[in-house]
Point group: C2
Chain length 363, copies 2
């Protein structure tokens, strides 16, 4: 079946581009001697996670316990849940998950460790990773607090295995240009390495020192001491990342859409809106983009407005009613999460259907 025979809107994955993206990031990690533990929040597809492992990844990262359950259900056995989780339901589910996979869990307070102790007692079935806030100011503790927290875990909860520390250099996205971005990425690495080394020296444990963020990894440099990286978006990239890389053809995900309304030369309307690619605009920072996605092979056109089910495209002269277009999304992660399946395309033909295994697994 040809891709153009698919109904619209559909999520298409260019398999050649995706495989190149995966191989290049694996090669980067390998050449730096760091483990790659890709964040699967972007694709949420067990089949793609398996491919990442096949290419050399050491386990995967997920954002949610629900994503971990979906991936473990598909046979993946080494999973880092990179957010703090709280609540008794979560602990019950964690127990079942830990029977299927080796699990690491984020903590940024002794509260999270007390919760494990309270629920599991001497049989805590997961390892913990302390989240360090290196400047993104979302979750995590300051570096010096991380050292103290490590000490409290080691002394009060000897049955809890502290596997290491992790940071997310997501504030690289706030940088206004490449050099600033690189400095932020390296500053995160420096703080992470120093924190990990202090914990090792002070508490006598061996520390995983994990950082992760596609943009940060595009800086291409890893400080000695970094042991693990967790980029996610690189599997498909999106408009902002492609501009950063100087090549829109690095984008592996598009939304196939049909022109359904036309007003002369002025504009056309296509059948993919915010419910097919999100309204996220990346309106500032180094990946700043204009409009709501870019149209493949039509760099002159702009999606100026987006409502829930319509993309409004200016000017309209070069497109006609019934034309098929492919739209590169601005932010691919929430876009993929809108679909139950994607079509894997090679040489213009549908090679396979990719199930979005963890779609909507937000618990």
């Amino acid at each position: 079946m040809k891709a153009e025979q698919l109904d619209t809107p559909s999520l298409l994955i260019d398999l050649d581009r995706m495989e190149r993206n995966l191989k290049e990031m694996q090669a980067l990690a390998d050449s730096a001697g760091v483990k790659l533990r890709p964040h699967t929040k972007t694709h949420k597809m067990a089949e793609v996670a398996q491919l990442q492992l096949e290419y050399g990844a050491r386990g995967i990262t997920v954002a949610k316990l629900g994503e971990a359950e979906a991936m473990a259900g598909a046979g993946i056995t080494d999973i880092f849940i990179a957010t703090e989780i709280v609540g008794e339901q979560k602990m019950v589910r964690l127990r079942s998950l830990a029977e299927k996979a080796k699990v690491r869990l984020a903590v940024d307070s002794i509260y999270h460790v007390e919760q494990l102790d309270r629920f599991f007692g001497d049989q805590v079935p997961v390892e913990v990773m302390i989240e360090v806030d290196t400047g993104m100011h979302r979750c995590g503790v300051e570096p010096e607090e991380a050292v103290e927290l490590a000490g409290e875990i080691v002394s009060r909860f000897p049955q809890v295995k502290l596997a290491g520390i992790f940071a997310h250099e997501g504030h690289t996205y706030n940088a206004s240009e490449k050099e600033e971005m690189k400095q932020i990425a390296l500053d995160t690495q420096k703080q992470a390495v120093e924190t990990g080394k202090q914990i090792e020296a002070k508490w006598g444990i061996s520390c995983e020192i994990s950082i992760g963020c596609t943009l940060g990894q595009l800086a291409g440099e890893f400080l000695p001491g970094i042991t693990e990286v967790r980029p996610g978006t690189y599997v498909f990239y999106d408009v902002g990342h492609a501009y950063y890389l100087g090549d829109i053809n690095r984008c592996a995900a598009t939304i196939l859409s049909t022109v359904t309304s036309k007003k002369g030369e002025e504009k056309v309307v296509a059948d993919a809106g915010a419910k097919s690619m999100t309204i996220d605009q990346r309106s500032s920072g180094v990946l700043k983009t204009e409009g709501f996605g870019k149209i493949k092979s039509h760099p002159d056109l702009m999606i100026k407005k987006l409502s829930d089910e319509h993309a409004i495209i200016y000017p309209g002269g070069s497109l006609n009613l019934g034309d098929r277009i492919e739209i590169y999304p601005n932010h691919v992660c929430p876009t993929v999460n809108l679909y139950n399946k994607a079509y894997g395309i090679r040489d213009g033909r549908v090679e396979k259907i990719l199930t979005i295994t963890a779609r909507g697994c937000n618990q």
Copy 2:
């Protein structure tokens, strides 16, 4: 089961509030003598659509053929698809749909009618409604073009039943205050009525004159000649609409979320982000809101940042790790579309599970 025992994030529907919203809009339509054909894009739940019909609605509106299929599959038999659809796959599906339900379809070009003629010949199984652009400038033709298009349909395609015209006063959302909003709403009605009357006079057909938009309907006035209204968001409302109504307690949908990270008095982080309630901000117009949703019973707190899986809430003093909060979303329509199910709550207890029948049916 108590609502607070649910895992998080979960989508909760306050059934008392929802039923009040439904009854009040039905009463408004009844008192004005217009048919209510609610847009089900907001809730996408067959069970709620059935309730709307039970309360007096005359059929439903959907945005997509896929939504129509989902609703027809659940037994709903009178459906208006309020967007233009294009493509042979769509025509094949339309044929099957029309065997289950009476279907009306949007057109804004003779192209759409030619498509029906080409595919169905003399046996066109659906009626068409001409979309009139009264100022929103998305789809639709100008009023005078609508009259011409009606003539072309009547003369060239006598086998196609032209049921009437419709407009969407979505540009009411651009108004900066209530009086301006009301003028826009009434201006749409005026244009719609005049267009419909001209078509009736010129081509001798009886015309449905349909308008629809929750905000426009909140103006509370219908000009003589309007025969049908299609509001959607009123089923749940959301933060902007509630402010417009002067009462946040009109919001019937919330996201139940857990505080998972805390930084002293400064801030807390909850486990519901853009993948649980969208990043849509309604950043301008009469429903303008600050932040990314409002927290029930905590009007002093602000969700200042939202990433895919985190809500970052300032200040953090009044919330603690493990606390449950309910968040009213800024834009409820794309929020509901992220979930496969919602929990119907009454008096703090889970009364039922509501399947989001048409979730993700964007084709």
